[in-house]
Symmetry: C2
Subunit: 396 residues, 2 copies
């Protein structure tokens, strides 16, 4: 057996595989770079590109003409090329703490940053991300605290006659404990799936951190797939690797709500949990807020905690499903049973703001108590991470 | 409460968020498109780009000049632009069944395909992927079979004095069963982590499919992090979202091997498993093969099944760790205890082929029985998926 030094092993591995990146089109620069003054520098090695721009949710929005009229569009900034062919842009101001997403635009084509392996998919598009720490954004980071477990499982839904994928967060210590835990059902919006809250919502980081700070109780978080016709997130079912589309698998026809007890039965027979109203919460964003509203009033004995995050408050009485009939009567029954928390959160710029305002008026008129949390901005994940980190501490 | 039809809700959502993709730089084309004759068409809308090329592991490799001399480089193909500014390339031939990866090169910059949300990270680079089904590649797809659970957990390693992340596959039916399962420890290579076998290796799909076909026994697969200095994959630890580098956290100093009993203890006290040699397997690729070789001979009572996939067979007697001393004596003890399977797999073009040939000679000279599986090509994930799908059926 020849004596090979580890260095030569490394060199050989480099030449065998890594070299493909290092030597052929790979980039040896850092992007994004968070500077000590909280500005951020973006870089792209592109000597042959004619124009390199950047778009991201930290840039001021711009008005743009579209086929649907003048609209707010994400801001765009130009990068400047140096003599080595590296394009660069540094934000003029420090960025506030937040999880940000961005894309490069190379000669007109929006792409992810090839020097940044951290990205998230939102429906059918993938963007590069980074976290500017500090303040609330520290909840979105992996910190030196005990970590829960995130499991991707499958359960059978008799109501939908389908095996379905589900994402379940169990808190630190759950596996070793003999105790019973409360359960928080957390629902995604239209175009989302059982991956959305984990990836875009940073649920496991937020819960790990809130629990470590003793701001939230240890709880199980169940992220089910809210598209009644869909078994699993794109790429995770027998449908294979198709191009996800916004309303491709979204129905809002009552089937998901009707089948929801299947999820509860699965969780309560597979996890050591507390099986009563006081230890069940349900919340969701946009379509998931709509689902939470309808599920909690359809089954008024199930949930003591209900959260509507930027909820799609909209009547569906035109749909035949029994779920959407007699909303007022069902709300009356639900509130007669005095849920401990009915929570409504929305941004003032959300296109659903006035629908939520109307809904709150209805609650007010009937003297149904609720907690209201208002932020700026609109129908965006930044708000949903905030709502999750505000809502979870109020539970159980 | 105003009556909003679902259509207007959808329209508003589109204008609120999706529109950003659809109207500002989003692309409404399909790429990649697997054609009925098993050719594949790639498309990119890039009216302003000067040159669009494609590189992928389905293209013939090319010789290229590099700072390290002439080397085999991934093939490159040019795309052709139509009048609408959409660039297109169709493979001249049908592709064989396989999981393929590729990148676009837009005016000289390698990027992922913005129309394909399916990608995998290998160390510090991310490529777009697709699966051409058929043959063995059907094992890599999600099929209509019962699915196991994939959990990301954390365990404490007293030997390394560190909390560490671990990926664990439990087979379909595990949670409902009272039975005890065998355990297969599956180790990644240098530059990898506890995500590598799940993402690049398609472990959960391969196991789901082999188990459904009754070709493999239901087993637990434990994918630990083989970098003794690393708590978790990049982005999953307190180190945050740094740029991963090839040997950044790889040490090969014996600490990982020495600490391996911590992993077994964790698994055997947290899962209902069979706790004897006949029900433990260990295998790994490259550095993970090196680890499997050293762990299995250091603890000759632990594993009846050992797999070296493209193993980094290399003496480390220069390293002070006791793990690497007296290799020959330890192998003698290990083989005296007659492991049921000692399996060596490698590609003929692997840079480690001759080191593996030398190692097999040593085994032959000592009449140590082993099973040898040879493929073409080299040190690539294609081979490691093949080795996993050949090795798993031989276990237990």
């Amino acid at each position: 057996m020849k004596r090979l030094a580890i260095l030569s092993f490394v060199m050989m591995l480099f030449s065998a595989s890594y070299a493909q990146q290092a030597l052929f089109g790979g980039q040896d620069i850092v992007s994004p770079q968070i500077n000590s003054n909280n500005t951020v520098t973006f870089r792209l090695q592109a000597p042959q590109a004619v124009k390199v721009e950047l778009t991201g949710d930290f840039l001021p929005t711009q008005k743009r003409q579209t086929p649907m009229g003048e609209m707010d569009a994400p801001g765009v900034a130009g990068l400047t090329k140096n003599a080595q062919g590296v394009w660069e842009f540094t934000t003029p101001n420090a960025l506030a703490p937040e999880l940000y997403s961005y894309s490069f635009i190379i000669d007109g084509v929006s792409v992810t940053d090839p020097n940044n392996v951290y990205m998230i998919r939102d429906v059918g598009s993938v963007t590069s991300i980074f976290i500017m720490g500090g303040g609330r954004a520290d909840l979105y980071k992996v910190n030196d605290v005990p970590h829960g477990t995130v499991a991707r499982r499958w359960y059978h839904s008799p109501s939908l006659n389908m095996d379905r994928r589900i994402t379940i967060y169990t808190p630190p210590g759950y596996e070793q404990s003999k105790g019973e835990y409360p359960v928080f059902y957390l629902l995604h919006g239209a175009g989302g799936d059982e991956e959305a809250w984990i990836a875009l919502g940073r649920t496991s980081q937020i819960l790990d951190n809130l629990i470590a700070q003793k701001k939230a109780k240890p709880m199980i978080v169940v992220m089910t797939n809210g598209n009644a016709g869909q078994q699993a997130a794109p790429g995770e079912s027998v449908k294979g690797m198709y191009k996800p589309s916004f309303m491709g698998d979204t129905r809002m026809d009552g089937d998901f709500e009707k089948a929801f007890p299947d999820v509860i039965k699965f969780v309560e027979s597979n996890y050591h949990v507390k099986k009563n109203k006081a230890n069940r919460a349900i919340a969701g964003l946009s379509m998931g807020g709509f689902h939470s509203m309808h599920i909690s009033k359809q089954y008024p004995d199930l949930f003591d905690y209900v959260g509507l995050f930027s909820a799609a408050i909209m009547p569906r009485e035109d749909v035949t499903s029994e779920i959407y009939q007699n909303t007022d009567e069902k709300l009356k029954v639900q509130f007669a049973q005095k849920p401990r928390l009915y929570y409504i959160a929305i941004g003032t710029a959300d296109f659903l703001f006035s629908a939520n305002t109307d809904f709150r008026k209805k609650l007010d008129e009937n003297k149904y108590p609720y907690t209201y949390y208002e932020t700026g901005e609109g129908h965006i994940w930044k708000n949903w991470r905030i709502y999750l980190s505000e809502f979870a501490p109020l539970l159980f």
